[in-house]
Subunit: 247 residues, 2 copies
Amino acid sequence: MPANTANAMERKTGIALWRQVADRIRQGIGSGEFDGDGRLPPETALAERFGINRHTVRSAIAALVQEGVLRAEQGRGTFIQRRRRFTYPISARTRFSEGLRDQARDRRGHLLAHARETASPRVAEALGIPEDDPVIRLETLSEADGRPVSRATSWFQAERFSGIADAFASSGSITVALRDHGVADYLRKSTIVSARHAESADLADLKLAPGAIVLVAVALNVDPDGRPVQFSETRFAADRVELSVSE
Amino acid sequence: MPANTANAMERKTGIALWRQVADRIRQGIGSGEFDGDGRLPPETALAERFGINRHTVRSAIAALVQEGVLRAEQGRGTFIQRRRRFTYPISARTRFSEGLRDQARDRRGHLLAHARETASPRVAEALGIPEDDPVIRLETLSEADGRPVSRATSWFQAERFSGIADAFASSGSITVALRDHGVADYLRKSTIVSARHAESADLADLKLAPGAIVLVAVALNVDPDGRPVQFSETRFAADRVELSVSE
DNA sequence: GTTGATTTGTCCGTATGTATA
DNA sequence: GTATACATACGGACAAATCAA
């Protein structure tokens, strides 16, 4: 029986075999393939199933152990380390930390980088400012219970929000950082959701494997007067997050 | 000049260099880096910028051409290939055909299959009926301008919507089919959006390549009295559709 | 219309990394 | 540990197409 026509790993794809195997195992876990006892088949069985060498399976498992997806115990077997999927609400009052309040004990935002630059056509149009006006860009990472959940790029008008980077760095919260700049309240005006493969930089920050999928939310927040305050593109790890749209 | 410390590609990561370069270029396109004339810098310039060989850049470009992101013309240059994505609105009044009214001349729904079955726990909970109550399941495909856009599985309470399959088959519209069953109006109560790789059946129906991504929307529609009428799981081809959440 | 500069397309060879046996 | 096969990356040379002086 040519059992491997569907299972066969592809070579010369630019993705190392062990990474493809890791993806497959992760996918299998996601679709409940090993739900019975939460235990992975032995390395030799996996090697046979995928039509590859046992050492390649071991590389894949090592990576998944490193990621926290699996837990290997010598002499006993390899087991699934179960995690929940976070549900992230999108509404007029969307805020990261509040949205996950009931789902994670520990929620925090990190500032990875920031820069002052001129607005690209896309950013300028979103923020309603002239092209090439100065803006501040924040590169941020959000974690819940120690796991990276989303990676965002945000733009703010530079004049109005000159100290936004420091404010975010110290508070880890956009809500607090905006409050420091006189924005007591803000509303989500629009959100465009799409999905694609994660890019290399996001793979690293979100601790994802190549081929992983990100949910992309491009959003505009406005103050109570309707003036744009924040334009952002957030990439959510699709295997850890779902978005809930409610009225 | 160590100009490449920030730009340098990483080796021995299990991700081929040309793939990392392709990601970088795709990202650049997404952030509007080449918006001026929609033209990529010459291969030699990209090679220098990334600190790699021109041939490696060429591999990356070849992959992006294959994806439909770029278009290369000998002697002229390499250009960004803009593709049009349908924007599908999600709101309290979400309806497929109306949502795409301004974006596609031709919109239609096809009934692929239908069955009468008993409600699974998930379906029963969503529709607010006892488990194992009879329901009708519709398998539908939606197209816009001749391109498959989404593939949906819908469940309806069997008693109340006994002729829903025929009504949908003849009209190609859920709105019309529900009206035939006395539901003059309905509202979107909740939508959960996630993303994953397409399953093989959906690949065929949506005419997608293996490894393609689908946006999954699990939704509940209710009548004006708040009674559930339709529970559905819709898979959108992620490279053809984005979802717009607006107030 | 010709020439030269620019840019993509193709071919060669070599070195190293990855996976298998 | 060794041998083999293939994929990846680099370097150079030249052909083919385009465009402007």
